[in-house]
Symmetry: C2
Subunit: 715 residues, 2 copies
């Protein structure tokens, strides 16, 4: 429920309030730029003036974490308005401009299922943030920062009345730090991002074939031999845990096993099912090495290691992976085959279930619950296990029916390069789901996954953000908050705000484009960089031979998924076609754009001569040139209302088909849908005589949609 | 000596080399973009092809540090060319494309005065890097990365023959992390920057009135009460030291005393000369609190603390500051006055000399030498003390005459916002210096200083870089390497390269401009951001009341010193005036620029309505509008060769005078010299009839220079 109230109602709601006189609402008062949208909000025009006199007091419960959060809030608020607000708390709550009223402290380290609800009342005189627990207050502080607006007299906190709480209790982001190492700074700034959009779990995928990224004091050869020296010390881990806890974010560590474990075996080959020796895996994919589930020494080791980790990580849950063990090493080992026969384990899945059961006992001994990927569900597991579904909604629902709690992940894989609306429109609990409310309650939420085959510290943020914010709203807000256009409108603002605390998802592109050429970005490179996005991992791996040592500095690593140009270009085309039969709206803008493309080749070639790293993009630039020419022709046909010859239509559609194809550049033009609509409009311009402009446009858009190749954004 | 050789000579030099046949040099072959320029270089056209087959071997001495450096080199090389080169060393030196020949390992932690020389031979078949010591090889690897170029067939290492060594042995950067906290990541990326331009000292100003930034285990209240929780743990310090050592950079810690010590006294008030209690200082300036030099307990404490630090920091030198103690607290304390009388110390300078002498003994006991600011020279000190001169070249020379070693700092203060050429043209040993060669040898080099009154982690890099690279060349290259235009040409390339390893000096501006408005940067803000630079600290502190809590997010904190627009605009004006009497060169470009300025106000006002943080810049935008109008008129007068009425001249010069004045925005237009030349040219256009265009232009430029207000870039 989001409302912008006009004056009479506002007066009724906060009668006798000075605010009601100060602020005359206008019909143009827009809704606040909140993301995620709260469960319930009334917004008014005007608000509380923000300047150096802004003071904060707490009443009722408080703790050191809340006080630190308020100080960060004050610094971020000051940074936004360019003036320091009073730092720290004032003692006189009656005189303070803002009071924070918490019912009770929360656990110092956040836990699954805490009460994150809060409410906010902002008027021209005062702001009240109320929460049952401190963690709810943390969420409310983030909302307040999104309520900073301006009127003719300066900055203000927008007047609102908000009651808010999350729809799902597990709202996470997973980062794989194994395939490509990500320093502490990357982790921290992403945790800041999570807090900003009210997500509450950072799932740390710490080990995999390509690197063992955490210090074990008991088994130091794990990191010493399995990480190329790139791992987190335990002190750093504690620092990150504390940092996340301060922001209301849980840290769930993952130690993937029994497969995805090559890096463990470099230092401890006896853990493996095959003879070794082992080296850190440089390639990507599914590999044979797996822990030997038949030797007691394996469990002794895991008891020691997981015991150490259980001490280090305070969260209830430890994630043990469990995915993609191909069983080959097991079947190749006669002793393991013998063990399977002996224990009547008829296949490797059954053997893995045995392994999972043993590991579960170890975790329980150390006071932990288990989380794992879909595959762990083959074991006879207690109901407090959390299953993370990479197989999708149906697998998640099936688990819930069996009584297991689960979280959804597969549609939220960043590496398929889906646009934000794909994340936004995939609900963990689709409206048409056939599960009961009781089963539905077991769907705890979801997690986006940043698998890091192609993620460097330079480009990782741009693969996660701002798309992750769209998912944040999906997981926090109600199911019926689903207006894609409105989400994109708010996402643009929130995306800029996310860089305030250190994320680099916007700035990275130009920074990397400069590195590509070694100079201030030439226009030709800038144009290509604006219109291209990277193909997803499935296409990329078909085309390129890459591994963990391949530099991630080419155009494909630089351009961003879901670039603003996609929606911008779509707007231009829709406006042009909606202006039938004049076709003058945005005609000039489109024409300039196409002219730029049409002549791109020569200037690009000049840059390429000094920066051969760009040579993989040559074919895409040629595509753009031809799309530019055909686009200009299309505008011409529309202007003159003269249908082109049929060969033009097929030739132009052929250009699009060619441009859709992944090549060595793995650059994609994610706006070809709108471009195709333009071509079809020009090809069908004669049809305008036979129907209304409105119907004609609909017909064109329908045809374009029918021709759009199905994008595949999951495995 | 920098030469580009043509073919015949090249053949003589590397006769019978395949390269001589492969590469046909052309007259346009430019000099490599090296910075700093080497002591001696011959450059040839062509070079060694770079691709995945590029391999490295070491012969003679090697060590783990060299091997890590080679691996980093390989990764950075791969990133530049978009293709992984073979990682690690190959054993067959004869088959390797590159061999590194070191005479001997260097100390694991760098020391003052090491042999940093190296030589490089690159031809079409092979690269040889030779150095007496590993540290010289580190320098040579950086040169190699700057030799990556491209020809029509791909990337290559430019063919060169280089013998290189530094002119000065102490080439440093100081960062003040007290007035504004800078996280480890900021320190590390700046150390990367130092290594890239062959600087070798990071001077860590760890303590000051506004914050005590290092963990003491013996005296934990120092950091616990004196830092707002913002300090480096000893583990982090060790990590930084190791990181720097790997890159051939010394870490010299500074513990400023006896003044600039307020933050020490919050936890340990008994150290102070006044009664206390003390709080962390939030203001900037010179404050009264100073250690009590008369109590033995002070020296017991310092013995404990400096002993602990001497263990932590491996460098020979510990910097004890010593600057700006105003003596007020000493004179206000009767016991201290009594002590002075008793010990025949006639003023506070004498008392400080006593203190310095005591501290020196403590350092010596712990095996360290002393460094300090100018003021320490009042004590009777041994000759191995290093004096850091903030008072300038003369003070440095005076010290050298007395037998003291010294380094120059004052002209290298970043906070005065001088352009890079100011750093570049200030030599620690000016050609006209009257000191003997023996005394000159005591001038060890210099250090730039990043005092952090107005430095946040967001904008600090843009205040240090790329200007620091100009200083790096001043300190490494010979005195006669002093062509400013050529330095700027190379600086542009090196500046882009410096961002590769994490510095943010280029990308920060747009990132911060987005934060200013909360949206993608509007054009009006972008235009202002491009032409403005910040005024220096002297003007800023006169105008604004700011302290350590003031947000650094206004335009003044965002725009960069020495923006490329300054030299760009100067080029445009010179080209226009050199085209007298036609005045057509660049006329159109200038005209478009001035039109943009002329109409800036309205669009800026619209942005300002949503981002009141911009309101301080309103007056500067009005200045730009008027300069735009007058600029257009000037172009008109030049075109028509009709002199304007005399009031136009004075009115236009009046606009410039107004625009020169610092206002609340503290934004400066650093290109007004060129703009004034344009106005004077228009005003004097009639003079063209009386003389040659060349003489006329010289006259105009001379007049502009005469009217230029003297910029003051030092205290």
């Amino acid at each position: 429920m989001v409302q912008i109230l006009r004056l009479p109602v506002a007066i009724m709601l906060i009668s006798a309030c000075v605010w009601a006189f100060d602020s005359v609402p206008t019909p143009s008062t827009p809704a606040p730029n909140l993301l995620p949208l709260p469960a319930s909000m009334r917004a008014y025009s005007g608000g509380l003036k923000l300047d150096g006199s802004f003071t904060v007091a707490t009443t009722r419960a408080s703790d050191a974490r809340l006080e630190r959060a308020i100080q960060r809030f004050q610094q971020r608020l000051g940074a936004k308005i360019g003036t320091a607000v009073q730092f720290g708390l004032v003692s006189d709550a009656n005189a303070a401009k803002m009071t924070v009223q918490c019912g009770a402290a929360s656990p110092n380290v956040p836990e699954l299922g805490e009460d994150e609800s809060y409410s906010l009342e902002v008027d021209a005189r005062h702001t009240t943030l109320t929460a049952n627990r401190v963690i709810g207050a943390l969420r409310g502080l983030e909302t307040l920062l999104q309520l900073v607006e301006a009127d003719g007299n300066g900055y203000l906190l927008r007047a609102v009345s908000i009651q808010d709480k999350p729809r799902f209790t597990w709202r996470g982001l997973m980062i794989d730090v194994s395939r490509h190492w990500q320093p502490v700074a990357v982790v921290k700034r992403n945790i800041d991002g999570l807090a900003t959009v009210k997500m509450n779990v950072f799932h740390w995928h710490l080990t995999d074939d390509q690197g063992f990224r955490i210090e074990s004091k008991r088994f130091p050869k794990l990191q010493e031999m399995g990480s190329d020296g790139l791992y987190y010390t335990q002190e750093q881990v504690r620092e990150v845990i504390e940092y996340a806890a301060d922001r209301g974010v849980r840290i769930v560590p993952e130690f993937d096993m029994p497969g995805h474990t090559t890096s463990w075996f470099v230092g401890y080959p006896a853990l493996a099912s095959g003879p070794g020796p082992y080296q850190i895996e440089r390639k990507f994919g599914i590999f044979d090495p797996a822990m030997d589930p038949t030797r007691e020494e394996t469990y002794t080791f895991l008891d020691g290691f997981l015991g150490e980790m259980a001490q280090l990580f305070p969260d209830q849950y430890v994630h043990i992976g469990g995915d993609e063990n191909n069983g080959k090493q097991w079947l190749a080992n006669p002793q393991i085959r013998e063990f399977m026969t002996e224990h009547q384990l008829r296949d490797t899945a059954a053997l893995q279930a045995y392994f999972t059961g043993r590991v579960l006992k170890i975790l329980q001994k150390h006071g932990k619950k288990m989380a794992g990927w879909d595959e762990i569900l083959t074991a006879d597991l207690p109901k407090d296990v959390v299953v993370q579904s990479w197989r999708g909604t149906q697998s998640l629902a099936d688990g819930a029916k069996q009584g297991y709690s689960g979280i959804l992940s597969q549609p939220y894989y960043f590496d398929h390069m889906a646009p934000a609306d794909f994340f936004y429109t995939n609900d963990p609990l689709p409206a048409n789901s056939d599960i009961t409310p009781e089963q539905a309650a077991r769907v705890l939420g979801g997690e986006s996954c940043a698998w890091s085959e192609f993620l460097s510290p330079e480009n990782i943020d741009s693969r996660i953000w701002p798309r992750n914010a769209a998912l944040a709203e999906r997981l926090w807000s109600q199911r019926d908050v689903n207006n894609v256009a409105d989400m994109y409108r708010r996402l643009e603002r929130v995306s800029v705000g996310l860089e305030q605390d250190g994320l680099t998802h916007i700035s990275a592109k130009n920074r990397m484009l400069r590195q590509v050429t070694g100079m201030p970005v030439p226009e030709a490179v800038s144009i290509l960089g604006e219109v291209a996005s990277p193909f997803g991992i499935a296409d990329r791996q078909k085309i390129r031979q890459e591994n963990a040592l391949t530099p991630l500095t080419r155009m494909s690593d630089t351009v961003i998924p879901d670039p603003p140009f996609r929606t911008h270009f779509a707007d231009l085309v829709v406006q042009l076609l909606s202006d039938a039969p004049a076709f003058s709206a945005q005609q000039a803008v489109l024409s300039r754009q196409f002219q730029q493309w049409q002549t791109l080749g020569q200037s690009f070639a000049k840059v390429e001569a000094t920066a051969p790293i760009l040579s993989d993009s040559e074919a895409k630039v040629r595509d753009l040139e031809q799309l530019g020419s055909a686009g200009l022709q299309a505008l011409q046909y529309l202007q003159t209302k003269t249908g082109p010859p049929p060969e033009w239509r097929s030739a132009s559609l052929g250009l699009i088909d060619h441009a859709e194809m992944p090549d060595d550049s793995v650059l994609r033009f994610p706006w070809l849908f709108s471009y195709r609509a333009l071509i079809l409009a020009a090809a069908n311009v004669d049809g305008l005589k036979a129907t209304t402009p409105e119907r004609w446009k609909e017909q064109v858009m329908r045809e374009a949609a029918a021709q759009e190749p199905k994008a595949k954004y999951t495995w």
